[in-house]
Symmetry: C2
Amino acid sequence: MGIEKVLEYQGRDFLPNLSIDLVIIGYQEGALKCLLLNIADKWVLPGGHIKIEESVDTAVQRILKERTALEKPHFKFLSVFGDSNRNFLAEFKAFFEERGLPWQKDHWLAQRFVTLAYYSLVDIEQLSPKPGEFDEAVDWFSFDELPDMGLDHESIILKARNRLKEDIQREQLTYNLLQEEFTMPQLHRLHETILGEKLDRSRFQKKMLATNQFERLPKLKKETPGSNPYLYRRKN
Amino acid sequence: MGIEKVLEYQGRDFLPNLSIDLVIIGYQEGALKCLLLNIADKWVLPGGHIKIEESVDTAVQRILKERTALEKPHFKFLSVFGDSNRNFLAEFKAFFEERGLPWQKDHWLAQRFVTLAYYSLVDIEQLSPKPGEFDEAVDWFSFDELPDMGLDHESIILKARNRLKEDIQREQLTYNLLQEEFTMPQLHRLHETILGEKLDRSRFQKKMLATNQFERLPKLKKETPGSNPYLYRRKN
DNA sequence: ACAAAAGTGTTGAGGTTACACCCATGG
DNA sequence: CCATGGGTGTAACCTCAACACTTTTGT
């Protein structure tokens, strides 16, 4: 969708006052990262709207696919953000004016939005994120070094970060952040990163294997000194 | 709001396509119960819409207060129900026609709604639920004997039932279902009811007291044989 | 041979289970 | 004094934290 279309487009095909924001989380170089878009000097979460004839879950899948090009990306509901002053007016006004485009304060994008926030765990290596129609740039940011963020998106991203920490303790979600085949040391370091604390290596391994969710594959051939770790894969 | 107003009213003050549904849960005579409204031969959850100038949480509080007359009722987010075919068309058409009122298929109420479902735990004794504008009757139903329900409200209510079971195991939510002062046997039976299984009486009591969240009050004077139980109250 | 990495074993502390026991109260 | 209900104690069992030990591999 080109910029001309955006201008004339008044959201006719979408549910008004309702948006979707996505916290797309990846894991790279031992750090948790988040995909952000640059718009008018601020960074914001990727997102979109729900088509009239489309279920919310389908919309999330569609928007996710636009960003990740993955066929079946993981996603999980995070929270509703429904403050009465949630609108992008300032951001979009700046964006339009920067480009010398006409801005009306009753533009469709200036309305108040209730947003449904989801988080998605992806394997960065498999990804090819594409810049959207509105964003000048797309980049991954470590959760420890977030840029200046627009609207309330910083609180959304931090909520996702905390939710992940909680969810990982009762659900197996980490598969989505790793390749299909992975080693226990890799999984161990990932859990330590998410939880932000040291985990006993011995206990972690035994706990994971006790779940009986893993299929042990031949050992991985490494170049570094030390024993070669087994590869594992999810059963089924 | 009288029925005439409903007719001319086209939802101008509310966010369109977005509704709130409430699973109001109480505990009475040893059973978990849910508040339902009768509309056109079906029973539905109480609910409402979000005002343009109002946050989602404020809307939930307002709608809850309309139903319960409680000043600060408990509530917790349950889930988004966003199927593309979620509309009340059939129900409202029947409701209007029963009364000989004109019905147009493009009525505001016939649109597709994304609903935000919340559940609320209340002490039935403190309540005075008022019939809403649309409902012919209001009643409490045990979760084991739900009536014929409209739309997807049965799946919402069952989801709330299961969520409660999960949540009770990590959070103290049960206070809201009991009077301010309660005994351990009462709390014990409540947990057994919610979880649907027997819990060891001794262990339950010790676990609860170990949390150190309770203030022990003088014993309750009963009429029945056996030792009198202590009363407890939440600390703070 | 040595250091580093990975896998497994051991021990004790602390929690949980399933009861048993005791006390209070009304009939 | 007995049945009932409520509070507490206890021994067996299980789980888990902490650390030790062993094996594998590159230099």
